[in-house]
């Protein structure tokens, strides 16, 4: 295991980190809309959101990626590999994040909302000042967990042609015949990334208002 091979794996991790980070952000934005739809009183909004979540949580990411990569061209959207990978991962994480957010919004104590209402806050103010901050605070640990899950799931995007850590490791292992060294190195790089995300998450969580110190 030479430094050069390890370096190639580290270079490939840029793809892993980049795709995961973008997907988490897009997924979060989608999840905000989805969770609002889930909590809506109207079936017209709730049903499609439930359907979306059920599908993207019910089908393996490997299959979702293949579906997006190969199916979209037939409806006229011929997206490149990188877009297919980001779309697939974003939709998948959106489904999981939406469930987390819904749980968060549901656990905002009713009393808080009643109190805010009594104090004369508008529904918009109640959402922005009370519901959203509390729900986000409550679901933050779940968001960090999800980020780690997505980082690990990104090992599958090679099926649509992205050479990230896992794919690079596979290519290197089959050309050098040193699978143990190469896959262990890849594992160490993943561990390091996940560890940094987890630690950053803990740090941010402690600095959020209302943290248990």
């Amino acid at each position: 295991m030479t430094f050069k091979l390890f370096n190639l794996l580290v270079q490939a991790s840029v793809w892993t980190i980049g795709i995961s980070a973008i997907s988490i952000v897009i997924g979060f934005i989608l999840a905000l809309g989805l969770s609002a739809a889930l909590l809506s009183a109207r079936k017209l909004y709730r049903r499609p959101a439930e359907f979306f979540i059920s599908f993207f949580r019910g089908v393996p990411l490997l299959v979702q990626l293949l579906l997006i990569y190969n199916l979209l061209p037939f409806i006229g959207l011929n997206v490149p590999s990188i877009v297919a990978a980001i779309v697939g991962m974003s939709l998948c994480t959106a489904a999981y994040q939406a469930e987390n957010l819904r749980g968060g919004f549901e656990s905002v104590p009713k009393g808080f909302i009643e109190a805010a209402d009594m104090a004369g806050l508008s529904p918009r103010q109640i959402f922005m000042r009370i519901k959203a901050p509390i729900a986000l605070r409550l679901t933050f640990p779940a968001l960090v967990n999800e980020a780690i899950m997505i980082l690990k799931s990104s090992s599958l995007v090679s099926v649509v042609g992205i050479v990230e850590i896992t794919r690079m490791a596979q290519d290197l292992a089959s050309s050098t015949y040193m699978p143990i060294e190469i896959f262990s190195s890849a594992a160490i790089i993943y561990l390091a990334i996940c560890w940094i995300v987890a630690m950053t998450g803990k740090y941010v969580e402690r600095s959020l208002p209302g943290a248990v110190k």
């Binding site: 990569y69 190969n70 011929n78 649509v160 042609g161 089959s174 015949y177 699978p179």
Partner: protein
């Protein structure tokens, strides 16, 4: 609010749909020339055609397509997928042509258009050094690896049926995985085309050996494109470039560089043996 978003999304989708539909009507060669790039799909686990050499994509295909690119006046953009995803990708329009290459077979010719052949593809056996296999028939009853969804698999299956005891055929996502598994000792041999296994045997001298003679029927490797009319100018141009390179010796030089030997290939394969 949701409704407004939905309308926006629908408008965007309609725009993309329209944009890409109108693009489809154009001929692919003109489109590639206008963009300055030709998209070529392949897998990178098929040495010596395509492989990753210490992190860099290299092989005969890279060199040949660099020449084709010069002839056509376009840059080559590689899209690398697992082999199973390459032909679907071509059909989905993810790239303009497949480098693979693929064995020219009757069944595939019904669905795809092949370029002028670039090498022989006749299937033979690569064995682990020291394995008790001295002729192809000796693989009867043994574990032999081959790539999934390949013509080599079809040939091996056919050959296996003629043997007294069937071959224990193991299918791998890529031939590289099969070689790795042979090194690991789970299988004793790999069935693949002669140029491939000759290269691997040379790279891993002492580890793998080629079993002569080949057991498969004489076949050729070609690049794969679509039969649709808008692809015809591109395929014609690639054919012209390849035939030109066969004439001026560039093809022979590249074959010698990657295979250590030259193949006489016809300009066009009309009636494949399989």
């Amino acid at each position: 609010m949701l409704k407004r978003h939905f309308l926006k999304a629908a408008a965007c989708a309609a725009f993309f749909l329209g944009a890409s539909l109108s693009a489809h009507a154009e001929d692919i060669l003109a489109k590639a020339k206008a963009a300055g790039t030709l998209k070529v799909g392949t897998e990178t686990a098929f040495a010596p055609f395509d492989f990753i050499d210490a992190g860099t994509h290299s092989g005969l295909n890279v060199d040949l397509f660099a020449e084709i690119g010069k002839e056509l006046g376009v840059k080559i953009e590689w899209v690398t997928l697992p082999w199973e995803g390459v032909l679907p990708g071509l059909e989905a329009g993810k790239f303009d042509v497949v480098a693979g290459p693929a064995t020219i077979t009757k069944a595939r010719m019904e669905r795809y258009r092949f370029t002028s052949p670039i090498a022989e593809a006749t299937v033979a056996i690569l064995k682990k050094a020291g394995a008790p296999i001295s002729k192809p028939e000796d693989i009867a009853g043994k574990a032999v690896g081959v790539g999934k969804a390949t013509a080599q698999l079809a040939q091996l299956t056919e050959f296996s049926a003629t043997l007294p005891t069937k071959v224990d055929i193991r299918e791998y996502p890529a031939f590289n995985d099969a070689y790795a598994d042979m090194a690991a000792g789970r299988i004793v041999a790999v069935a693949n085309s002669l140029p491939n296994i000759a290269f691997v045997a040379k790279q891993r001298a002492g580890m793998f050996e080629v079993v002569q003679p080949p057991f498969g029927k004489k076949t050729y490797f070609g690049y794969v494109g679509r039969k649709d009319a808008d692809y015809a100018p591109l395929m014609d141009a690639i054919d012209a470039a390849l035939i030109k390179m066969k004439g001026d010796g560039r093809m022979a030089k590249l074959q010698d560089k990657w295979f250590g030997t030259k193949f006489d290939t016809p300009d066009i394969v009309k009636e494949p043996a399989i």
